[in-house]
Symmetry: C2
Subunit: 446 residues, 2 copies
């Protein structure tokens, strides 16, 4: 008998690779933070002597969700600005609040709040884009979640840096500081084509190659952005990125609601990825990403929540359901973005976009044990004719009972093991009080 | 001091009428199943001696949700047929399953399952359209929920009736049988213009006037339906209903994804209502109801879940969020269908569509005490800058803690008081086993 750390025995398992399919009565053997085997329970009981055993007789086990685009710290701005178009949302609400409040304290409190919400809902890895990624990285390390820190870059000053040189220098310091952390990666995060100059983008392309990290950027969010770029530069933003050599497998383009057929082909040929944030795109009326067309062309399409200020939840269940539903309307085809595809977008596609597919995104021996169990016992999920359908169309984050990251049991019986919810809630309340003092703040609470 | 049955004291209250706004430190006084007063807590404590007092210090109280279109019994078909277009979904999956299984047992079990899901999620009233409304009515009476039973009519035979005469005769029997039940109403429910002949529709118009009940029908669901009607009759379905005299304040048209500007104007002028079922429309790629345009024209737009076979959840939180989000995309305007409008659609607009606005839909003295409390304490809802925003964009049915219908406390501390979940779950499991035996059933469980 081989001694291992843990054996998880759910009723159903969805490995995601090689296929998104439901299998029954498998067990997942975990040791040293990694998946040792996914195998029939009878065989597991002959081969392994686990230190801990987790029987989940009414549950599905699946890979943890990958939130491929979030501004985690913005969770303290949840509800600050609703029912406004993107430009006014940014100019009248978000930028003033940020210029007054963004600093290490906001980033620490907001990132911790975001991680509590995300972990409880089954997100085991997130790709962040915000100021003070050094502070975010410390919070990530403290909580045990997996993350890719965005080395943000802009061509205008913020509290974090004053010019492109300083953004890039501080970003590389963050990269160096966390490179020994097994659960923390980095990506360059030039904010968007409209907010970053050609010279900065060209430098980021070169540095991303040297450091072997992805380039995570907003791309073609509302139509107005594309039109403004055409007027200002004579090029659509994606064409400009291409001219600068940024359209490569390292590119993670977020939103992509405005794509012409040739642009879809360009992304596919280049091996670039797209992060679809359907609820944010709807809420800001940015448009709808042509998900079925992108997937059909072979583009990796992952899912992101965007920040809580524009969503207003960091809930990948809501995103994958919306992706499956909206994808059918946009394609005018009820067979588009079926349940299994939506689940792949939330897991392995996120891993691929972040260049982490060797490590996470599916339940395969050798990968890190980043996984979740979901209870299909709620009365609202009955009868369970098809567990995959139930997950994608009926379940929600409240059905997640267990979350492991690199084998560590971070959510057990729906409780966050390592996080102090009282202090996280108290910090959120403090931010609520401060923000309600601000101009234009909504009627409020706390 | 006036003796009353109960005083509910939430932190926040949204009365919905005269406006959807958040007020603090009100209390709701309830007696004999009705709201006696909504007033400041200090005044309530001076005036009333309640037999029961419910303090909800982190909660919002609001009117119970009205699910204005559901096929409740179809909840046993949840997950039977996903990712299929409407026509194949009906012809290959739903109709064969229905022709084999529909009968009093399925309707009783399915309706009970649906009511458990709906009540737990804050739905206090639903408008049903299915076979055996007599059986559904018995289950409604047993559970304490409020419902409008559809007197379904078709021009083809089913297990419930063999021709239009029998449908109508049996419908009127249902009307007569339940007319003494204070929580049960009826509506004629001709299935759809394409499945009901002119003569039947004309007769229903006349009878609906005599009985003073609404006419609840599917209307302009996918584009193909409208095109087929044009080919077959030379008229779009709404024009045909108008020619038959059915476009009146009694008309409740469900789906309405295909509407020309003149049709919106016709519905507005006639005082007809529309039930928007956004998740069903997306899932079946039927199209998108022009909600902002309808509301702008003055049409009452309510919300419906549709049946669990096409959704796959009877969750009005998911519908109101999707309505708010999708409404912005369809209108290309991020200010369209704001949070307060979405909440009105889920409450008072449902009451208006069902001709029950004098009885339910808002927290107003004299109306029935149909209301819910929602806990805003979850970490995923922090900070509470704006309770209304939190409800519409961040909360979910799992945050509902209490539900009252006509003053009866049917959900307390998230538990269903009157329903036996074990027997409802066992019945659902039996249906799962039977349906999995059917052709084309999905991989399964239970």
């Amino acid at each position: 008998m081989q001694k291992i750390d843990a054996l998880i025995h759910p009723r159903w398992t969805i490995r995601v690779e090689p296929r998104v399919e439901v299998e029954e009565q498998l067990a997942i053997a975990v040791d040293g933070g990694r998946i040792v085997a996914v195998l029939p329970i009878e065989e597991a009981e002959r081969r392994f002597a686990p230190a801990a055993r987790h029987d989940r007789p009414g549950h599905v086990a699946l890979p943890g969700f990958v939130n491929a685009h979030v501004h985690a710290a913005m969770s303290v701005f949840r509800g600050l600005a609703d029912d406004l178009p993107l430009e006014r949302w940014l100019r009248d609400r978000i930028w003033p609040a940020e210029s007054r409040w963004v600093g290490p304290e906001l980033v620490a409190d907001g990132t911790r709040l975001a991680i509590a919400e995300m972990l409880a809902g089954g997100i085991t890895c997130f790709s962040d884009m915000y100021y003070y990624p050094d502070v975010a990285g410390e919070v990530v390390a403290e909580t045990g979640v997996r993350a890719v820190l965005g080395m943000i870059a802009l061509d205008f000053p913020t509290a974090w840096a004053s010019d492109a040189d300083e953004y890039i220098r501080k970003g590389i310091e963050v990269h160096d500081r966390f490179k020994g952390e097994p659960l923390i990666g980095t990506a360059f995060a030039p904010h968007a084509p409209y907010s970053v100059a050609d010279a900065t983008l060209a430098r980021i392309r070169q540095l991303a190659g040297e450091l072997d990290v992805p380039i995570h950027t907003h791309l073609h969010e509302p139509a107005a952005e594309v039109e403004a770029a055409l007027r200002a530069t004579g090029k659509r933003p994606l064409a400009r990125l291409e001219a600068l050599g940024l359209v490569t497998p390292a590119l993670i383009g977020v939103h992509a609601t405005q794509l012409e057929p040739a642009e879809i082909e360009l992304l596919a040929t280049a091996g670039a990825s797209v992060v679809h944030c359907p609820r944010s795109n709807l809420k800001l009326a940015s448009g709808a990403c042509p998900v079925a067309a992108l997937l059909g062309a072979g583009v990796t399409v992952a899912l992101g929540t965007d920040g809580a200020a524009s969503n207003n939840r960091l809930d990948l269940w809501a995103e994958l359901q919306t992706a499956a539903l909206l994808g059918k309307l946009v394609a005018a085809d009820a067979t588009a973005v079926p349940a299994g595809t939506a689940l792949a977008m939330a897991t392995i596609n996120g891993a691929r976009a972040l260049n982490l597919a060797d490590e996470i995104g599916s339940l395969v021996a050798g990968k890190a044990a980043d996984m979740i169990c979901v209870d299909l016992g709620d009365i609202a999920l009955q009868p369970v004719l098809d567990p995959l359908s139930q997950l994608v169309y009926s379940a929600s984050r409240h059905d997640v009972t267990d979350v492991w990251v690199a084998g560590e049991h971070l959510v057990a019986s729906r409780e966050l093991v390592r996080l102090d919810l009282d202090s996280i809630g108290a910090a959120a309340k403090r931010w609520g009080q401060r923000l309600r003092g601000a101009d234009g703040a909504p009627q409020g609470a706390d």
